[in-house]
């Protein structure tokens, strides 16, 4: 039996990778992937806790997260395609129309 702390450390590493990628990457697809990485890090801790405490709610929650992530991916990718069509770039530093 692998101890819980291992899972949690792995989950933390995954999450930290996601955050780092989110902050330093310029390509919008990479940023997207980083977000997925963070979500999966969280999912890992959910299932780890669920296994540890023999509680199903953690497992159920992971399904929710996956569904949301799938929906987000669909919408997000659609937006990315739309952005690319108008701006012809995927560099977020050049997509800055939201500023004041």
């Amino acid at each position: 039996m692998v101890p819980l702390s291992y899972y949690l450390v792995l989950s933390g590493i995954l999450f930290a990778c996601g955050v780092t990628g989110f902050l330093i990457k310029r390509n919008i697809i990479s940023i997207f992937l980083s977000i997925e990485l963070m979500l999966n890090g969280v999912n890992l801790s959910f299932v780890a806790f669920a296994a540890q405490w023999k509680a199903l709610s953690g497992q159920v929650f992971v399904f929710f997260v996956m569904v949301v992530a799938a929906a987000e991916a669909a919408v997000g990718l659609a937006i990315i395609i739309a952005v690319y069509r108008t701006r012809e770039t995927l560099n977020v530093d050049q997509v800055n129309l939201l500023k004041l």
Binding site: F22, I31, D93, V95, N96, L98
Partner: protein, 659 residues
Amino acid sequence: MTPSLHLWLVPVLPLVGAAINGLFGRHFTRRIVSAVALAFPGAAFALALWVAFQFPSLIAGPYRETLAPWIRAGSFRADFAFYLDQLSLVMLLVVTGVGFLIHVYSVGYMAEEGGCYRFFSYLNLFMFFMLTLVLASNYLLMFIGWEGVGLASYLLIGFWFTKDSAASAGKKAFIVNRIGDFGFLIALFLLIKHFGSLNFDHLFSSIMPMSPEMQGTGLLTSIALLLMVGACGKSAQIPLYVWLPDAMEGPTPVSALIHAATMVTAGVYMVARSHVIFDRAPAALTVVAIIGTLTALFAASIGITQTDIKKVLAYSTISQLGYMFMACGVAGYSAGIFHLMTHAFFKGLLFLAAGSVIHAIGGEQDMRKMGGLRTKIPWTFWTMTAATLAISGIPPFAGFFSKDEILWQAYSSPQGSWVYWLIGVITAFITSFYMFRLWFLTFFGDYRGEEHESHSPAPHGHGIHESPKVMLIPLVILAVLSICGGWIGSKQFEHFLEPALSPNAGITYYSPAALIPSQSSARHLEPGNTELFLSGISVLAAAFGFYLAWLLYHRRPELPQRIALALNGLYEAVLNKYYIDELYAILFVKPVLDGSTKLLWHGIDQNVIDASVDNSAEGAREVSDAVRHMQSGNLRSYAGWVAAGAAAVIVYMVWIGIR
């Protein structure tokens, strides 16, 4: 049940005229504007005449008419209600009659002026407010009229508003009147507080049983004095007379209508209307008499030195109003109202004739540049002669009867004293002197104006010329009234007014003067030989004034110059109106202006009110300046902020956990 007189129509008709000309006059031709301007006051005059003929059938008492409820709060009531008794009937006829004549005259006078519709609209508006004032049945409605005539006066003085002096004269008139109105308002508040009503009927019937106030709270005395403050403002008495001479900046018909015949007499009317209060406040009556007497003398003395023909008449008006207040102050209200009426005739005529003179020589108002106009404008000359004789108190012209009655009242009334009479006679002499001075300077001698005006095209294109008929007809009618107006006789007039002014009967006066035995003998004089003797003296005074004016300004025109030089300091002081305007400027205007500028404007408005608004706006701008850099539009910097925020939350939670 008395038949309805439709009294409300009298003021409303001119209002309709004012509205039509004011709203649509811009698009009318001059002819239509004049027609509208004449039709409505004319109709009001006709209605007033009809009312006057109906009046004897209502002799049982004052006629009351309530048009609509206005303010009803608890037991306090003030309605749009009208009140007609002998006093308001006289005022009604004077205002509509003289007012209509002056409207007719204005059609000729203003024929070459721009903005005619504006002028007539204001003039009709004035008629509306003045008629509201005289017909009101409560003090509040009267106050509406009172304020309204002030407004119309302001608008008309500043009619040529592009002229700086006219605009500031209008403001001066309005502001000085506000001071008086303040006193009037306080008096009204006192009346409401202590009697719970402003209705004449209710008020006077509750005051009537009170006895003359010799000591105690002085409630009636203070009300009367505050009313007098209002009257001083409106009727240009000391110390609030300063606006009237400046008001001559307005067109001459305005000076005739508002600043001679009607509006300025509103104060006299108000005092006479409030006689029930004044009768019970002997101290206030004495103040009224003293103010009136002093004003009469003071203004007349300034009139001697003025060279502007309208300014002379303005000071003369102030002086004659002083006479009216003198009469009211000795409880001779009917004499005051009588003089008010004759004064409306001859002073209105004097102003209109002066306007005709000014018109004839192309806008010149300086008497030093007139002269010899007698043969050139004979109609104006003869009508003006009638008015001059009337104001000087030469029998049998109208002014003689009314002035004589005032002087007799001043001498013989229980409130009177020979001092009033003496000053009155001296004033009569001065009046006669400056009026004949004006007369000689204008119509006799040689023409002293610029010669080319009579040959080359003057502003009006044809030299010195008599005025058109539309101006002359009112002059002639007023001249007839100035001659015959006094023949009613002061006794008959007094008898006619008695129902309106009689409630003072049965009250005995205990004026301080009455306690001195030597003077009480004058109190029971029979109006016989003494009266005749006193009239003789005042006629002599007038004749002497005429003689002196003839000597100085006709026979030996170089003399006035030498006298002026001999009396250098005094002459300078009088010429500069005793420096009263300058004194007021130092005492009141400058402190108020400085206080407003430094404290209210720079201090409170700029440093407190503006500064608080400005600084809070500035603060908000600085804070947002600092914060707005967060909104860079850069996705990764947003992400950074989110991460930093999350990290801060985690640190906080951990810190909470390990504590």
